[in-house]
């Protein structure tokens, strides 16, 4: 399986098989739905933000490919306890990383660095970024379903 381990790393396979923070979040005060029309990936994201702008809890539901599921799972783990502005920063760093931008301090992303290989699979960038776009929508309370197919940017 070595030839695919750049994309399908053990950590990704683990999270897609056993997604963390999967399910409903009672008491959530922010929510968004994301959809990737290309492959039918769906994600529903619940956030519980404190008055001070701290992400107290986060859960997701949905169906999708290994990359989108693992990305959502690892994202929820990374977000817990973070301030919303730090979450926004992570979103941009993550996006830049999977888009293959130069000079991204990927090390700052911790475990999320596991998605670095996605940049070599352009067709899969949307899968990896769907959860993050949905997070962005949830933080800003966008009501429309986030679609990875609406813009020119993945």
């Amino acid at each position: 399986m070595s030839e695919f381990s750049d994309l399908y790393q053990d950590l990704i396979l683990d999270h897609q098989k056993n997604p963390r923070n999967f399910g409903d979040l009672p008491g959530a005060n922010h929510h968004a739905d994301g959809f990737n029309p290309l492959c039918g990936d769906k994600i529903s994201l619940d956030l519980k933000l404190s008055a001070q702008g701290l992400i107290e809890d986060v859960k997701f539901k949905g169906s999708g490919c290994a990359i989108s599921k693992a990305s959502a799972s690892l994202m929820t783990v990374a977000l817990k306890g973070k301030r919303t502005e730090d979450a926004e920063k992570m979103f941009h760093q993550f996006h830049d990383m999977v888009m293959g931008k130069e000079g991204v301090p990927a090390a700052e992303l911790g475990k999320l660095k596991v998605f670095e290989g996605v940049r070599d699979y352009p067709a899969r960038v949307k899968c990896a970024s769907l959860a993050w776009h949905t997070l962005e929508a949830a933080l800003h309370d966008h009501k429309d379903v986030v679609s990875t197919d609406d813009g020119v940017q993945p």
Binding site: M1, E3, F4, L7, Y8, L13, L38, C39, G40, D41, K42, S63, G64, C65, A66, I67, Y121, A123, R124, C127
Partner: protein, 440 residues
């Protein structure tokens, strides 16, 4: 609900023998003398196939999305632009005459290919999608009224659903859906039940792009006509795989796309019975479709020109003609026999893979192996296959209602063309097993 089978003698395996294909009514015209089908020779006609992708020989199994083009088509396009490029139907100069002759020559080729009664029944469109839209707009707006019904089937491509939905919304008509069974076959009893005096038109595919089902089209058309409904047949997935005879099946409209039958993109065909075309208003206004124009009144040309406003895709039309010549030379009977062999071989091979589930198991199939693999998402299958050189499609195949019917988000789909081989099926099967390795 039991499916009424159009061809009762057809309880057989997917590997239909040539004799069986010959006796399938209304579908296939076989030329037995073309039985010697040399796929090695055919592959040499498609330069794109000899390349490597990700360092592996390309195995192109996404033919239901689009097919590759033979040298004959590439040369026809090149020759047109190099030697005869000119506008048609108007110039008095030699190039325009030549271009017009080539353009109208393609119309005759299409007429012969579909066995239409009259070349004036052949309209050039941008593709099958535009053909459906043309009928929904030009015929539909004139003939569908509030309270009327339009029938589609559960296995339609979005292009044969959405234009009808738009029409029904505009007119206050009702869109009704003929269901399918677990094998992906149309339920003819249900079709019978849904057809009524309110049914204006039935829009039905001849071959399903997501499932591969071949519908008993002649019988379906007969049922609809008995209730006074018109029938539009989506032939996009049929024409590359089986000989079509629009007179024999007696459809009112038939659409297909050039690029799915080894021709260029951006060109397609709408066949319509002449009387219907004559009564229909134009679809678009512009040059080349008028007999005379004043600001008070414009007189339109007769079909087909009434429906071909503006400078058409001349090169595309000529390229399509070359593609139909190519397919006819290979022989649709021989192509069908070759592809049925691949389909049967592929079905056996794929069913031997643990966890693989075929979606679409109709007794009559053409060209498509749609499948799921345990819990592994088709998108992941597609990526791993691509890295092994195997091009398939993963997704809903623009047939979301089909996915919903089978309660799956997507399938992986390998679809066959005349240049595919058993060896390529072996590579596909091996690549799928690799997917299982990666996902342990």
């Amino acid at each position: 609900m039991k499916t009424k089978n159009a061809q009762p003698a057809a309880k057989r395996s997917l590997g239909r023998k040539k004799k069986d294909i010959e006796t399938t009514p209304g579908l296939l015209r076989l030329s037995p003398e073309k039985a010697a089908f040399d796929v090695g020779k055919i592959r040499k006609d498609f330069p794109i196939l000899s390349q490597k992708v990700h360092g592996k020989p390309l195995v192109y199994l996404d033919n239901a999305a689009t097919t590759q083009k033979p040298v004959a088509v590439l040369q026809a396009l090149d020759r047109y632009y190099r030697e005869t490029n000119s506008n048609i139907h108007r110039g008095l100069h030699l190039l325009s005459e030549k271009a017009t002759e080539a353009y109208e020559g393609s119309r005759l080729k299409v007429q012969k290919f579909l066995n239409a009664a009259d070349p004036r029944e052949i309209l050039f469109t941008r593709g099958a999608t535009e053909g459906v839209n043309l009928v929904a707009q030009a015929w539909g707006r004139q003939n569908v009224k509030a309270g009327d019904e339009v029938l589609v089937t559960h296995m339609e491509h979005h292009s044969n659903i959405v234009p009808w939905q738009m029409l029904c919304e505009e007119k206050g008509a009702t869109l009704k859906v003929v269901p399918i069974n677990d094998a992906g076959e149309l339920l003819l009893d249900e079709l019978q039940r849904l057809l009524s005096s309110r049914t204006r038109i039935l829009a039905v595919t001849q071959v399903s792009n997501a499932l591969g089902t071949v519908n008993p089209i002649a019988e379906i058309i007969k049922m609809a006509h008995a209730k006074g409904a018109k029938v539009l047949v989506d032939g996009a997935q049929a024409v590359p795989h089986l000989a079509v005879d629009v007179q024999q099946m007696d459809c009112d409209f038939y659409v297909f796309s050039g690029h799915k039958i080894y021709g260029p993109t951006g060109i397609g065909v709408l066949y319509g019975k002449y009387r219907l075309l004559e009564e229909m208003p134009p679809y678009q206004g512009g040059g080349d479709m008028i007999a005379s124009v004043t600001f008070e009144k414009t007189l339109y040309k007769k079909p087909p020109h009434k429906f071909e406003a503006g400078t058409p895709h001349i090169a595309g039309v000529i390229g399509l003609g070359a593609a139909l010549d190519y397919v006819s030379e290979c022989g649709l009977g021989a192509i069908a026999a070759h592809e049925q062999d691949l389909l049967a071989y592929g079905t056996r091979k794929l069913l031997g893979i643990p966890g693989l589930n075929l979606v679409g198991t109709s007794v009559h199939k053409a060209g498509v192996l749609s499948f799921t693999l345990g819990e592994i998402h088709p998108h992941d299958i597609g990526t791993i296959l691509d890295r092994q050189g195997v091009a398939i499609r993963a997704g809903h195949h623009c047939a979301q209602p089909v996915m919903e019917r089978f309660r799956i988000p997507a399938t992986a789909r390998a679809s066959l063309g005349l240049y595919n081989t058993r060896d390529e099926i072996d590579v596909l099967a091996k690549a799928i097993r690799k997917v299982l390795e990666v996902f342990g």
